[in-house]
Subunit: 376 residues, 4 copies
């Protein structure tokens, strides 16, 4: 693991998620930009002293040289610190599991994409919400044509933890600092999740974005509210709203997909449920572990219906899938079909394109910006 030391949030999540299904063991890490604190943190986690590294470069070199070196590295640093370790480990021949967004700009994203293509190494981007069983069932419903042609895609991601200034809060600090977070605030932190979720479920290609961004809290340097419209290549239209000032909302990621024949509605805060309605029929409430689910959903499920699974289980699914991806890679096999949607470097490039295009659109009074050009 790279990052995730003292005071980090997502690093601990990665560790719990990796542990849950017993597919991964944490054996090495560089947890902090301060070498001393990095090593101390690793020892605190019970790692071997010689695998508690002072920095990621040392770790990449050393682990690549060990006969029992790591199978993959998890990069859980702030956005601007994804690129360098990802490159270092890929170049050292190590598979990468990287937090999102991939990078803070399209050039670096392209560079990583090229490097993955050249090395052929597994690369997983932890758009963890795509690990939820009911999200996978939603994707399956769309893919099987149950919804008919997609017309409207409404995505939102509302939080309130940044509704006021939080001086001294480490999580808030780096997310509000362009040097660490990149050009997007809410854009990079949460809108990119909503964007990925919409693309993941619909299987459609977003073609252009028109955005308005705001900085509602005085002194804020990056956006804390994004209101965008997306045009999708297949003709669908939709809004995307991401806000960090939405009082009353905790982690309100919601996706509604409306086709010509049916529609679905999923909320991250009730992840075990998927509301599904066919035109002219009474809506159904599908639930994880319940009747009528796809293998995609059932394969991502641990517990019977009514025994709630949550954020960690969804996140763990990404780790379990990454393990399978790695095993296939080791065996020289193509990844199994069921992993086709697992987010990787391509989704990372698309997410970075979305962020930069939205920033450009907002600066141009909401002018439509092509996403394919941005990603090119």
């Amino acid at each position: 693991m790279v990052g995730g030391g003292e005071g980090a949030f997502i690093g601990a999540v990665h560790r719990m998620a990796a542990r849950l299904d017993d597919r991964w063991t944490l054996v090495a890490g560089a947890f902090s930009s301060d070498p001393e604190r990095s090593r101390a943190f690793g020892l605190g986690l019970g790692l071997d002293p010689d695998r508690s590294y002072g920095d990621f470069a040392e770790m990449a070199r050393a682990e690549a040289a060990r006969p029992d070196g790591i199978d993959a590295v998890a990069i859980v640093t702030p956005n601007a610190a994804h690129f360098a370790p990802a490159r270092a480990f890929l170049e050292a021949g190590v598979a990468v599991i990287c937090d999102k967004p991939l990078t803070t700009g399209p050039a670096e994203a392209k560079a990583l994409s090229d490097l993955v293509a050249r090395t052929g190494l597994p690369f997983v981007l932890t758009h963890n919400y795509s690990g939820y069983p009911m999200v996978r069932h939603a994707r399956d419903l769309v893919a099987r044509g149950v919804l008919g042609p997609i017309r409207v895609v409404q995505a939102e991601y509302a939080q309130d933890w940044l509704a006021r200034d939080l001086p001294g809060n480490r999580q808030a600090d780096w997310r509000g600092d362009p040097d660490k977070a990149g050009p997007g605030g809410a854009l990079g932190d949460i809108a990119t999740h909503a964007f990925h979720l919409a693309a993941f479920v619909t299987g459609e290609t977003p073609s252009a974005v028109s955005a308005e961004t705001s900085r509602f809290v005085a002194g804020r340097r990056l956006d804390d509210d994004v209101q965008a419209r997306l045009r999708w290549a297949g003709g669908a239209r939709g809004q995307l709203w991401a806000s960090q000032v939405a009082i009353g909302a905790s982690n309100g990621l919601r996706l509604r997909v409306i086709g010509a024949d049916a529609a679905l509605d999923w909320s991250q805060e009730e992840p075990d449920y998927l509301r599904f309605a066919r035109l002219g029929e009474a809506p159904q409430v599908l639930r994880r572990g319940g009747p009528g689910l796809s293998p995609a959903a059932e394969g991502a499920t641990r517990l019977p219906a009514g025994h709630p699974e949550g954020y960690l289980e969804g996140f763990a699914q990404i780790y379990a899938d990454a393990a399978d991806l790695l095993l296939a890679h080791r065996a020289g096999q193509a990844p199994p079909d069921r992993l086709s949607g697992l987010p990787g470097v391509r989704e990372g490039v698309e997410g970075v394109a979305f962020i930069t295009a939205a920033v450009r659109s907002a600066a141009a009074d909401g002018a439509w910006i092509s996403l394919s050009e941005e990603a090119a």
Copy 2:
């Protein structure tokens, strides 16, 4: 009543709403554009034969001449047929209760506005959702500054009854016909309600709109989906989505208003509830008839908490308020303060400006269109 004959929907609603609180009695009407059917329908309702008119012009003349002439006329015709009867009754000195949108274009809206100013007659526009007690409480919370400066205003109005072509359905037919509905489909029918609701609750002035409209159902001549952004004069930003193709949604009008200190969330399909959250406190579920409500809410309430009130009761409130407005007018008094938000011709002019500005914006790839210029 003008309109609301055989096969109409909203006319029957107006009649039930007017009756509920025993403030109005239906005594005269011109219910159809066909004089024979108009008279027959009036007789069927039990009206006197000599007050079952063949057309609105005849009715306006005759009622104005009677010593016991009507106190007010309710105009419940399709959009394009609001202007002429409204003008006729105003000119005959009769107060008007008119369905929305006011007219199909800004010139007519301006003409009615001028006529109301000149005659001084009461004019009520049935934006009925502003009659709900919890909507009035929401408005009161904002007005008292409980939310702090408004940052985000999210409005949506989702329906699915037009998700496919409905040949031969009278309600669908006129709403899809530009000659009867005006330039907006979903725009005029439902987006304008959401627009009014947002302005009513926030008390803020919308300054500009950027819109994308779609016609998803083949052969449709007017929009069936609207995705707009609004800029508000006070600095707030927000999205508005109105759709008639949103499968699974029946009459899903929802408003979220987010301030710097608190936020509220109201859904028309659960009208007795208002979700209210202060920053840093557990959210509350306020309910009609429950503790802690404003006089504005309590004054619009008929039943104790837990005894659901619905659409007709909210609509009835507009009629009850219209009665009070008329009584004040008769007495030569200014309307009581509590009626200050009752939608009238001003709100009608603003709504028409919204519709026409959104149409223009959509035609210009989402360019921002000023609402004040449009209304001027």
Copy 3:
């Protein structure tokens, strides 16, 4: 109308309900036990002075003698004041619409039942919750065998308005006074509604009750909490809970009916919805005005789906049905099939039997008491 004067709650409800569908006009009444106030109240409602009576006996005599006498009387007095006017009007040949419970004891209930049998007059008991469209759909689903044999019937009715003593509250006063309310507090006021609802929906016969009653608020003379079990003749078992001290509950009447093949779940505070689940299938949310409903539901509906109907509309349905029942009676016809479930004197007798049996059971430490014997 008898009762429903100054400070009454349910009288005003009856008047609005009767008015909504324009099937009834209030023309006469005895609104108070004080003749002066009774007459004054009638004048205040706009009644003719000679039909604003001082007491019900005078009214029964006078109206029976008028050529244009009332078609039916609505009795909306406290429980102990149902019997005498009901008898008086029946004996005067006037149809009766009576609030529940029918009487405060089985002997009076039996007497009214005999009188109805003898006179053949229409008699409607306003178990208003049976007027909701989705309740009628629920009854229809059970009747058509969709649920299979009924196994479990769970009913509850939770309120909190009596969670503390309310000195000087008129509604609380009479409900807590055995001389006015009869032997049951929560039992008579709300448990009897839940009991009727369960029988109405399931179409089954409750055979015995075992009950525990409490008086949680100091000084209370009648029960404010009832916890009962019911045995049903067909083999079903179920609990019934009624409470007036359930803080957080407003008017929480809920019924769950579980069969061998399917189950349903209805809550009065969301009356437009009915949750329906078949074994092995994803649950559905049926809604008033939506697809797949029975004629019984559609016939009790005024508005499209998504336009909430509430308590008054459900209550109004009882009045509309009573009008149809009266018309059939006038025409010398049997009531139409669709009115077969309309609660009348039989349901009144059963409800009184339930109350008295529950009181006896509670006094006997929860011993099972036969309902058929109680009603005999």
Copy 4:
């Protein structure tokens, strides 16, 4: 671990729960009553061959003799197979984590209780629902007197997976077999959870039970539906319903506690929320990770609000607490106060008393049976 081999459900849950917080490592086990399959299963989990035992007795002897023997054993067998291994490990000086119910009869429960008292060893009973943060917050609210004197305790636990016969289903088979499950079906499997939850949250002592049990599915040998009333020593009254035939319910454990001043309402299927209402105030929706929570809730929380935690996290909390309990024991210290509610052998004895008393009551037509005598 004892039990939890091929085809088991709860064993895998225990393993994930133990792993999540990295407080426990599985190093030894006897997973099946068949020695061959037991050892093979252990090897399949990656255990050392010499710690993959053929039966629990061998395991207890061998582990007790090892210098690196297990710190505790998790017993996850069917009910009737709890007693023997629990006794064996306690006698071998090993702490025990045991699934519920403790035993299938009071004599064995008493014997274990005595043995725990004699050995002083930590003993944890996995009433896992008491591990949920919001359940702990509920307990804290009651303990601090926020609710006032408790009046009503309504508990229910509804499932539908046994609504029909499931021949060949291992989970159904043992639960329906009195030799493996003991005298209770739904009673032992789920009602005992609801019973414990009610006692855990209220901190009150249940004094007597009156129960009706049913076997709705033909051929079933144990109850699949329980309808009980409980009297609580402090004067509270309440119903408990547990059903395995409640179509539409998955794992519907719900608890409502109503005091004189406030009430709370918690549902296992939405474990992150707690509805809280003070008399005369608008209800609040408290949520895990949100504002205003007790240390008891915060200490059992892993993720911020809006990042759902579920069944495994709640279960994991029991394991984390068990680790702390063991550490205190090892250090010769009294358990920290915060573990005072952790369910152990006392709660096991009470649960068994509840089951046997309910069985006796049901056989006696619902007669009240004292729980303290049953437990004695």
